[in-house]
């Protein structure tokens, strides 16, 4: 997609209308991106800051058990006497990493399968369609549980993420294939082919950018569902037990009956973190939709209207 803007940039009066810039101009996308940026910042720098500035660790015993939030322990401590805030920050890093890896795996797979199958059609399409259908009817969760249990010792949470990605691409591939089929016979694609463009370029530069709304909507959805899936696995005790994550925090809170002891500070923060991330992903999704589909956009400045009757 970076290839769509030629590198030569003359001094023109017209504004450069790059995708990135327009994404920050859209209010919904901006709000979503801001939240995502905070998450990313926390995931990258949070653990270091918590260790050095607050002197907290996600595993160390603090001396206080089930203490409510205080100036010293911002989100209190859990039954093991560990600082919940520190756990939440560390959990953000591992949860985001796993979610992103799983989501990119499934998105890349679904785009490849959908685009290639939809564009070429014929036997290739039928084979890819059959594979897609097989992955659709595979019972996802049991498969993930089995594979994750098997891979636990071998690759940790990264392996689990890839398993989630590999089992979750089929729906996305279907929607991308359908979109590709509808774009394949559009005039601008015919024109590119007539001009003698390579198939890879027709797919990459003509069709793929038009799939962006579908891709971004499934990507954001995939990030959220992957995080939910990983959290779910960890909640069930199947994920990597040594990592501190939102899922493992929730599992501990459930096992130690945090609800009955009224320790809301133990389970509300990881739940809220997942929810807010989902909301942010949704906002970005709406924004991308508006940008890539000009018809959804509200015009800001008067412009020359098309003459379609």
């Amino acid at each position: 997609m970076t290839a769509t803007t030629p590198a030569t940039a003359p001094a023109t009066t017209a504004q450069p209308r790059r995708f990135r810039l327009r994404l920050t101009r859209n209010r919904k996308a901006r709000a979503g991106l801001l939240i995502l940026a905070v998450y990313a910042f926390v995931a990258i720098f949070g653990p270091t800051l918590v260790t050095h500035l607050l002197g907290q660790s996600p595993t160390a015993f603090t001396g206080q058990v089930l203490a409510p939030p205080s100036a010293e322990h911002w989100l209190g401590t859990n039954q093991d006497g560990v600082d919940v805030f520190a756990q939440l920050i560390w959990g953000t890093r591992s949860s985001l990493l796993v979610g992103l890896i799983a989501a990119s795996t499934s998105t890349v797979l679904s785009v490849l399968v959908g685009l290639v199958g939809g564009y070429y059609g014929g036997v290739l399409d039928q084979v890819l369609g059959a594979v897609t259908n097989v992955f659709l009817v595979l019972p996802g969760l049991p498969l993930v549980i089995v594979l994750a249990g098997y891979l636990q010792g071998r690759g940790g949470s990264i392996a689990v993420a890839i398993v989630i990605g590999v089992t979750g691409w089929a729906w996305g591939a279907r929607s991308k294939r359908i979109q590709t089929v509808s774009l394949r016979n559009r005039d601008f694609v015919t024109n590119a082919k007539l001009m003698g463009e390579r198939d890879a370029r027709v797919m990459g530069a003509e069709i793929l950018p038009n799939l962006l709304p579908v891709i971004s909507s499934t990507l954001m959805l995939a990030v959220v569902t992957s995080i939910l899936a990983v959290s779910g696995l960890e909640f069930l005790g199947i994920g990597d037990v040594n990592t501190v994550s939102w899922g493992s925090m929730l599992r501990q809170a459930q096992e130690r009956q945090a609800l009955f002891s009224g320790a809301w500070w133990w389970f509300v923060p990881p739940g809220a973190a997942i929810t807010l991330l989902g909301a942010a992903a949704g906002l970005v999704n709406f924004g991308v939709d508006e940008i890539t589909n000009p018809r959804l956009r509200v015009p800001r400045a008067p412009r020359v209207k098309g003459g379609r009757a």
């Binding site: 769509t4 803007t5 030629p6 590198a7 030569t8 003359p10 023109t12 009066t13 017209a14 504004q15 450069p16 209308r17 559009r186 005039d187 601008f188 015919t190 024109n191 590119a192 082919k193 007539l194 001009m195 003698g196 463009e197 390579r198 198939d199 530069a205 003509e206 950018p209 038009n210 890539t292 000009p294 412009r303 020359v304 209207k305 098309g306 003459g307 379609r308 009757a309």
Partner: protein
């Protein structure tokens, strides 16, 4: 300039209208020879084109006129090698060209023949700026072009289609342009490869009426200045008359009349062409009732209001006979031969062979 062949001689552009009269040795740039296109369907083959021949000459416009379903777009697509003919050949500079399956063949063919599609709203990828749309054909056909030259060429292309100031249009995206501007971008993109032939499929039908003349004049200028051969497909015989040197009238996939624009529109020989001319722009019964004021064989409104022809099992004999005001028993039995009404003006109608009075009427 990377090579001396990059530039056309400039004196050619300023030479004014180089319209040669039709000469015997005037070899067509692109031609269709007895092209037949059938589309197989479950109910039988759709006869989109049957034995259509047509030639495009340098510096001249050939209009193909016909109603929806007459096969005009199929003809354009066949000439552009998008559609493979069931029978017959497409000839480029007199040599038959095979269907361009390979990318290299497509690119070579596209360097000579460019198809401009009807709908400028779907022929330009909405996500690409004009800069990208114009740079692709330039780079595909001359891959080593340096960036500054690319820039200059793109600006020149935009100026040639009267999109000025060109720099402002370079970074615009299709949705920021009007229909007429978009179609001019599409024309500029076709011109980028310096083709010899432009195939225009209903180029102006999606444009506002006020913009149509502008685009037609632009095309006429380009044709005259660069000696382009042009195929102009339209359902509107009035613009064909204004713009084209030759007109071919298609009905239900067959050529019913062909000749110079003047002859076909002033003295139409085939009853279908007459109806088109008389009722231009739309063949309504009211305008037909006014009649040609001619030879007593006034077309009957009810004959014309009939259904369009079924292309899976086309009418026997002359395909126009179920709607023809002059239909006689013979018309349903055999397909009429091509009759030379005048020099280079041919039509296929039994009335031309049988009917003295009709011939005189058409020649008048």
């Amino acid at each position: 300039m990377t090579s001396p062949t990059d530039e056309r001689p400039t004196d050619e552009r300023s030479a004014g209208r180089p319209v040669p009269a039709r000469r015997a040795d005037d070899r067509p740039v692109l031609a269709a020879r007895d092209v037949t296109v059938h589309f197989p369907t479950k109910g039988g083959a759709v006869h989109a084109l049957d034995g259509v021949s047509l030639a495009l000459h340098r510096g001249r416009t050939h209009a193909v006129v016909g109603e929806s379903g007459s096969g005009k777009s199929t003809l354009a697509r066949t000439l552009a090698l998008v559609q493979q003919p069931t029978a017959g050949t497409v000839e480029l500079h007199g040599a038959p060209v095979e269907a361009a399956r390979r990318r290299r063949q497509r690119r070579e063919f596209a360097a000579t023949v460019q198809l401009v599609l009807q709908d400028p709203f779907s022929s330009l990828n909405p996500l690409h700026p004009v800069r990208y749309l114009l740079s692709r054909p330039l780079l595909l056909h001359r891959p080593k072009m340096p960036a500054e030259q690319l820039e200059t060429e793109m600006l020149q292309l935009l100026e040639r289609v009267a999109l000025v100031p060109a720099r402002r249009f370079l970074d615009a995206r299709p949705h920021e342009l009007s229909g007429g501007q978009r179609q001019r971008v599409a024309i500029a993109r076709a011109l980028a490869v310096r083709p010899d032939v432009i195939l225009g499929d209903e180029l102006i039908s999606m444009l506002d009426v006020s913009l149509r003349l502008e685009v037609l004049n632009l095309l006429a200028t380009l044709r005259d200045e660069e000696g382009l051969a042009m195929l102009y497909i339209t359902h509107d015989i009035a613009t064909a008359r204004y713009f084209a040197d030759e007109i071919t009238v298609l009905y239900a996939g067959e050529v019913v009349e062909t000749g110079s624009g003047e002859d076909v529109t002033q003295t139409p020989a085939h009853p279908y062409t007459r109806l088109l001319v008389e009722s231009s722009p739309d063949p309504s019964p009211e305008s037909l009732a006014a009649g040609p004021g001619g030879d007593g064989e006034r077309p009957r409104a009810d004959a014309v209001a009939a259904e369009p022809p079924d292309l899976i099992s086309p009418p026997s004999g002359c395909r126009f006979h179920p709607r023809c005001p002059l239909a006689r028993p013979r018309c349903a039995e055999a397909s009429p031969p091509s009759v030379e009404v005048d020099d280079g003006h041919r039509a296929r109608c039994w009335a031309l062979t049988d009917d003295e009075q009709y011939q005189r009427g058409s020649a008048a």
